[in-house]
């Protein structure tokens, strides 16, 4: 049957992805303002290589590279990978992460729409597991733009942050990492807070997180993403943290966990990737809750300081089951 549907449908995959990219601008700018050119270099490297690998995969799959590039999904994946990486990381890490994300996580599963796992998180998790040394070197104090663009480029293409005393003072673990290590040593929260920096001890990542939150709220306003996943992730995480506060002696800072690391980036930009999230509204609430809970569990009891990537990937595994469960619930409420 030749159906008419004579409607101009303004929404498109490309438009959605563009809006997501626009919403990431404030976070990127703040991150850049705090930690310098390294952020932009990471983004440029990741985007360029992601586009290249996307085109290559499309070519290998005998499909048009132009169609795939035109939907901007590869760019979004690349930007998300770059924003998870520490600035001034060796150049091959963003390239490797993007390549892995595109080739294995996306196109091996059948390209856009068919990937079971969030490609950005697969790429990031791969480099996080494979190169822990490189990925644990974060700038401790906000450098601003004090490290020049040329110096940054030099650092990126010559093995990352140089091991000289002048630089050593700048680098260190993230706030979440510090919190975790000190909590394991049974230090008190006030002692931890004295050691950490930033507005409330999240190594200035609270500012980037607030910028991501602003971008995420704008996406909600534009109805590009649904409220279910962000709300569910944040509420579950907050509930788990408060529960911990009440019943556990292990020190833990609620604001650092809520506004530190990649919490907001995850809640609004990573776990809201529709392809790897649950399908229905109820399913998305369950999916968000699973993600939020896993973030808390891995952060507090796991071996990695920030757990967003693993939490999202594990929740992705649960999606087919959540979708089935939802159909089952629908049927039992109807009956």
């Amino acid at each position: 049957m030749d159906t008419a549907l004579n409607i101009h449908n303004p929404s498109s995959v490309a438009r959605t992805m563009q809006l997501v990219l626009f919403a990431l601008i404030p976070g990127t700018l703040v991150y850049c303002y705090l930690f310098g050119w390294g952020v932009l270099i990471n983004i440029a490297l990741a985007v360029f290589s992601a586009a290249l690998f996307e085109a290559l995969s499309q070519h290998l799959r005998k499909r048009s590279p132009a169609t795939a590039l035109a939907d901007y999904s590869a760019v979004v994946t690349a930007v998300l990978i770059a924003l998870c990486l520490p600035p001034l990381i060796p150049w091959w890490i963003p390239v490797l992460a993007s390549g892995f994300a595109m080739l294995l996580a996306k196109h091996c599963f059948g390209g856009i729409g068919n990937n079971l796992f969030n490609p950005a998180m697969v790429g990031y998790a791969m480099v996080l597991i494979s190169f822990p040394t490189e990925l644990s070197v974060w700038l401790q104090q906000p450098t601003g733009l004090s490290i020049s663009f040329i110096e940054s480029l030099h650092a990126v293409f010559h093995g990352g942050v140089p091991a000289i005393p002048q630089w050593d003072a700048l680098t260190g673990a993230t706030a979440l990492d510090q919190h975790r290590t000190m909590a394991l040593e049974k230090a008190s929260l006030s002692a931890i807070n004295q050691q950490t920096v930033g507005f409330f001890g999240a190594s200035y990542s609270e500012w980037t997180n607030l910028a991501y939150l602003a971008g995420g709220l704008w996406l909600l306003h534009k109805k590009t993403i649904n409220w279910h996943i962000p709300v569910s992730v944040l509420v579950t995480l907050l509930a788990a943290l408060l529960f911990h506060k009440l019943f556990s002696s292990q020190p833990l800072s609620v604001p650092v966990n809520l506004f530190g690391g990649a919490t907001m980036l995850c809640a609004f930009f990573i776990s809201t990737d529709p392809v790897s999230a649950a399908a229905s509204a109820r399913g998305r609430l369950i999916y968000g809750a699973v993600t939020g809970l896993l973030i808390y569990i891995i952060r507090v009891y796991g071996a990695y300081p920030d757990s967003v990537a693993f939490a999202v990937l594990l929740a992705n595994c649960a999606v087919p089951t959540i979708d089935r469960l939802d159909i089952w619930l629908n049927r039992s409420t109807d009956a």
Binding site: L5, N9, S12
Partner: protein
């Protein structure tokens, strides 16, 4: 009385756009008309015959829709049940006798003779609809079934009094006790006109102007707040245009030979009252631009594409000339926009996933059969996937599978029954033979007697013709 039941709102759906239009126009009388009488109708006219406007072309029959000549003139040809008439430009009317209408069955026979059908879009014969139910409630559908159709609105604006007369006829014909009219709240002029003419016992309910509220099932829910099918609630639904046609048939003895349809173009909306069987090419003066090769009939959501030489039939409610935007189909990204807009609370993206390849069990779990194919999901899909068309195809495939399964089950049960029958027959014969053997071998009969019995049996056998024996054996197999 006006009720605006705000709490009654369908889930999801698309907002209507309001557009202005002028009075209903009458295009010049066509030179020729082509009337499709339908496959089952028995045509009673022949080529060369002179016919008058309104003269029946087919024999009235309860199972088919009667067709009538829509212009007076000469029949030029009859090809594949399509009667072509060349107009004599006189438009002389065929005179029907004033009917006597006392009971519902009188109305059924008369509406059948006058070729009345549901004018909303589906085109279900009115007499069959009345016959199928003895309703308590008569629901009048004054809402459009598609966001780009304006013909009912135009009709109400200009001929509200006639519609109300038609509603009274419908009440009489169906025997319904109460009547509700459902209309979208953005049709202010039409509501005004209806209010002016409505008697107090008819309730006018405003519904939100959201597609697909105009489908009779959702309209009934919106007007009464009752869920369940119309049949369950003892209700019957007629479109306003159908009521108008009833009024024309009963009060003026006019069969259905014209219909009002909307011509929707980029810059204008026109409503015209055209003769059934008019070719779209003849209506060219009504269009702003030269007709494109393909136009869309039946609205922008559920319409179908037809050629420009298509002829207007009783269900043609609109013609759209706006270009179909070419948008590339991309893979589904599971964004869930379709699920939010679905008025039936289905999960279109999950359904889509299970349509290629078809996963029967999953599609049944996801209640594909509840899909009304309103195409709201198509309208919001960022990947521009033609979901409604895919669901339509999947539905018919499921139906085929179901039929094939039922057929196989029937064959199986027939085979098993036959096997049982043959077994019991064999047992019975064996028993008879055994008892006979026992009877003969108990030593009471002498050899001579036995021989006589054998000869008797052989004679009996001989007297029967072998041919009949053979055929009987075949039949029992």
């Amino acid at each position: 009385m006006i009720f605006y039941k705000k709490q009654n709102r369908i889930r999801g759906g698309l907002q209507f756009e309001t557009r202005d239009f002028g009075n209903i126009e009458t295009p010049p009388l066509p030179d020729a008309v082509n009337i499709d009488c339908g496959n089952e109708a028995e045509i009673t006219v022949s080529p060369g015959q002179q016919v008058l406007t309104g003269q029946p072309l087919t024999k009235p029959d309860n199972n088919v829709i009667t067709s009538h000549a829509s212009v007076s003139g000469v029949i030029t040809s009859i090809d594949k049940q399509v009667v072509s008439i060349k107009s004599d430009r006189q438009d002389t009317r065929f005179q029907f006798a004033k009917p006597v209408l006392n009971s519902s069955s009188d109305y059924q026979a008369y509406f059948c003779k006058m070729g009345l059908i549901g004018m909303g879009g589906a085109g279900f014969p009115v007499h069959q609809k009345i016959k199928s139910i003895t309703p308590d409630t008569l629901l009048i559908n004054a809402a459009e079934c598609d966001p780009a159709i304006y013909c009912d609105e135009a009709l109400i604006q200009e001929r509200a009094a006639e519609i109300v007369k038609g509603i009274h006829i419908a009440l009489h014909a169906t025997g319904a006790k109460n009547c509700i009219i459902g209309i979208e709240d953005n049709k202010t002029k039409a509501i005004e006109q209806l209010q002016k003419h409505l008697p107090v016992n008819i309730e006018l309910v405003q519904i939100p102007s959201i597609y697909p509220s105009g489908a009779e099932q959702s309209l009934f829910y919106l007007c009464t707040g009752k869920s369940g099918t119309l049949k369950d609630n003892k209700a019957i639904c007629f479109n306003v245009a159908t009521c108008y046609a009833m009024h024309q048939a009963v009060d003026f003895c006019r069969p259905l030979t014209t219909r009002i349809l909307s011509i929707v173009q980029n810059n204008s909306v026109r409503n015209i009252e055209a003769r059934i069987g008019t070719s779209l090419l003849t209506l060219q003066p009504m269009f702003d631009q030269p007709l494109p090769e393909k136009v869309i009939c039946g609205g922008k959501m559920m319409g179908v594409t037809v050629n420009k030489n298509h002829c207007i039939n009783k269900t043609t409610n609109s013609i759209l000339t706006t270009e179909k935007p070419a948008q590339q189909i991309l893979p589904c990204i599971r964004c869930g926009a379709c699920e939010e807009i679905c008025p039936e609370n289905l999960m279109p993206q999950q359904l889509y996933w299970h349509t290629s390849p078809i996963n029967t069990d999953q599609l049944q779990d996801l209640t594909l059969h509840n899909c009304i194919e309103c195409a709201c999901c198509d309208a919001v899909c960022p990947s521009h996937i033609p979901l409604a068309a895919l669901f339509n195809a999947a539905k018919s495939q499921l139906e085929d599978e179901k039929n094939a399964y039922q057929k196989a089950e029937l064959a199986k049960s027939r085979y098993e029954k036959r096997l049982n029958r043959l077994n019991s027959q064999a047992t019975r014969q064996r028993k008879q033979l055994d008892s006979k053997t026992a009877q003969l071998s108990d030593g009471k009969n002498s050899d001579a007697e036995k021989k006589a019995l054998i000869a008797k049996a052989l004679n009996r056998k001989k007297s029967k013709t072998p041919a009949t024996d053979k055929s009987r054996n075949n039949r029992s197999l």
